[in-house]
Amino acid sequence: MAFLSYLISGISLGSIYAIIALGYTMVYGIAKMLNFAHGDVIMVGGYMAYMATTEFGWSPLPSTLFAMAVCTLLGVLIEQFAYKPLRRAPSLAVLITAIGVSYFLQNAALLLWSANPKSFTSVVPFGTLRLFDGRLIISGTAMFTIIICIVIIVGLSAIVHRTKVGKAMRAVSEDRDAAQLMGVSVNRTISTTFAIGSALAAIAGVLLSSAYPILMPTSGAMPGIKAFTAAVFGGIGSIPGAFLGGILLGIIEILGKAYISTQLSDAIVFAVLIIILLVKPTGLLGRKVLVKV
């Protein structure tokens, strides 16, 4: 029974990773860059929802929508000012810039909200579920997170595969120059991708803060890197891959914490990343890309 409850909290944590991983995977697939600052957008989302609930006294739903709006704007601004000028630059330069943006967000948050942890009030409307005479306890947050994650995955798949915007995204991902020649606005498509990814990051921020209600300027960094691991695990660029990778990574982390070592749980997650990149760098559901000489 203990194992089952670990499994459920693993899937719940994994759902959050999956939502974050979607942002990484879409940006990596379409803009071909590792948006290192994505994790910190989550943190900003958490703070926005926190401010909306505690300072403006808003209820959970408008607070979340507010966080999403701010993060979408932030994502688009970051893309416009930091990444767009580097469209043709070497990936080393883009990655260093992204690290700079990540650092900027963390330290700006530090100045704005100080290093003191803020305690976040959960936005989850469900209560805790008790099964088998209270031997298996499933928290409302866990259930809510899993449901939201599934809704997002289905919704995003529909956008990517059924809409015109989605078609443009797939085209840019396949061949940027060809897409441009076919009349697809590459810049607008990449901006849209950042907007969607950042809005998802805000949702992830709210859910993460609900599950782990301590909010700090560095709150987003570690989940960000782990979610990137999840994206790579599932196969970068693949939406179902992000889901699969996120869930698996969440389970690995929680089980590692429970059965191996609490202190080494991060190390275990990173070991997973290293092993995947060496054994199957394309991930579970990724495609192999041939380098043209």
């Binding site: 990936s91 080393l92 883009v94 530090l110």
Partner: protein, 361 residues
């Protein structure tokens, strides 16, 4: 020898050495005159350690062209193995200078071995994936170091992964590394002069490496892997060479750094430290060794001199990273900055043909 000095790179390198020596002499004069605040005096050894860190990271980032985000991990490995060595030598060798030297050598060797072991998987990757894996290794080192307990008693070194009590030290034994509390009870061995000598050795190794057959191969791999392979250069071999050399020097810097304090914790060598060193490299110019030295010095001294700067220092570093990258890689911004730079510097290291006016066509 006269011939050699006609070479531009050699002249450039000589300037770097002279700059370091002059800075050292100047500091010694100021120190003996009592013009240096005690806060700044306390920063002298860390500055030298950070310079070595920056120069060694520049070998990976600037010369090899791969981003390493776990450089602090090698510093950590060097720091802790150096500290253990200094404890082991305490009763054997009377001279603190010799103890420091041997501890730094051990720190360098152990970090070099880690560089080799980590390099085997890492150097099969490239680009973003390589960077993220070095980050992962850095974090793993930090996490593992946080859970290690090492003690020394009459029976020798003892290791535990659970607690210091589990070490079962006999009477008179002491805990050297106490899990999350880090290394404790370190005898301060590092001196400014030792740091200065380490900088000179680092410069000697890195500059001579760059201007040799192996260094050219490393830069060839950076500029174009496929072309390098087609010319019979083993990409993996030279990437490893640069990475291991870089790790080794970081290990020596780690030992120097740790032996400057009475306690050192593993969390000191985290991702933030790796980024800090990266900021030195980026601001000083990737591949520019002298730039790394200057940037490391200024950015370590500045927060000490300008207290107000301390608060916004990390924010400023972030802005520096972004602006330098934009200025260097965006064609329009590059031209603008080039014009500003052109006002100050008329000379360039390598002549452009447009300026040379010599063309075959």
């Amino acid at each position: 020898m006269r011939r050699l000095f006609q070479e531009k790179t050699t002249r450039n390198n000589t300037v770097t050495y002279l700059m370091v020596i002059a800075a050292y002499v100047l500091m010694q004069l100021l120190l003996s005159g009592g013009h240096i605040s005690s806060a700044l005096q306390g920063q002298l050894v860390p500055i030298t350690a950070y310079i070595v860190m920056a120069v060694s990271l520049n070998l990976t980032v600037g010369v090899l062209g791969e981003l390493s985000l776990g450089h602090a991990g090698f510093m950590s490995v060097g720091a802790f193995s150096g500290v253990i060595m200094s404890f082991l030598l305490e009763s054997q060798i009377a001279s603190p200078g010799l103890r420091l030297l041997l501890s730094m050598i051990i720190g360098a060797i152990v970090a070099g071995i880690f560089g080799f072991l980590i390099g085997i998987p890492v150097m099969r990757l490239q680009g973003d994936y390589l960077a993220i894996v070095t980050l992962a290794f850095g974090e793993i080192i930090k996490n593992v170091m946080n859970t290690i307990y090492i003690g020394l008693d009459a029976e020798g070194l003892k290791l535990s992964m659970s607690s210091s009590a589990a070490l079962n030290l006999v009477e008179g034994g002491k805990t050297i590394i106490n899990g999350p509390m880090g290394a404790v009870g370190i005898k301060k061995l590092s001196t400014f002069t030792a740091g200065f000598v380490l900088i000179l050795i680092t410069l000697f190794i890195v500059l001579n490496l760059i201007n040799s057959r192996a260094g050219r191969a490393i830069m060839a791999v950076r500029d174009n892997k496929i072309a390098a392979e087609s010319l019979g250069i083993s990409v993996w071999r030279y990437r490893m060479m640069a990475f291991i050399t870089s790790a080794t020097l970081a290990g020596a810097a780690g030992a120097l750094y740790a032996l400057n304090y009475s306690t050192v914790i593993a969390r000191k060598f985290d991702f933030n430290t790796s980024i800090l060193v990266l900021v030195f490299v980026v601001l000083g110019g990737m591949g520019n060794i002298r730039g790394s030295i200057i940037a490391a010095t200024i950015l370590t001294v500045l927060p000490e001199v300008l207290r107000a700067f301390n608060d916004i220092r990390m924010l400023a570093y972030a802005v520096i990273l972004i602006l330098v990258m934009l200025a260097r890689n965006n064609a329009r911004l590059k031209r603008l900055f080039g014009q500003i730079k052109g006002i100050f510097t008329r000379q360039q290291a390598v002549v452009n043909i447009e300026e040379g006016g010599d063309s075959l066509d």
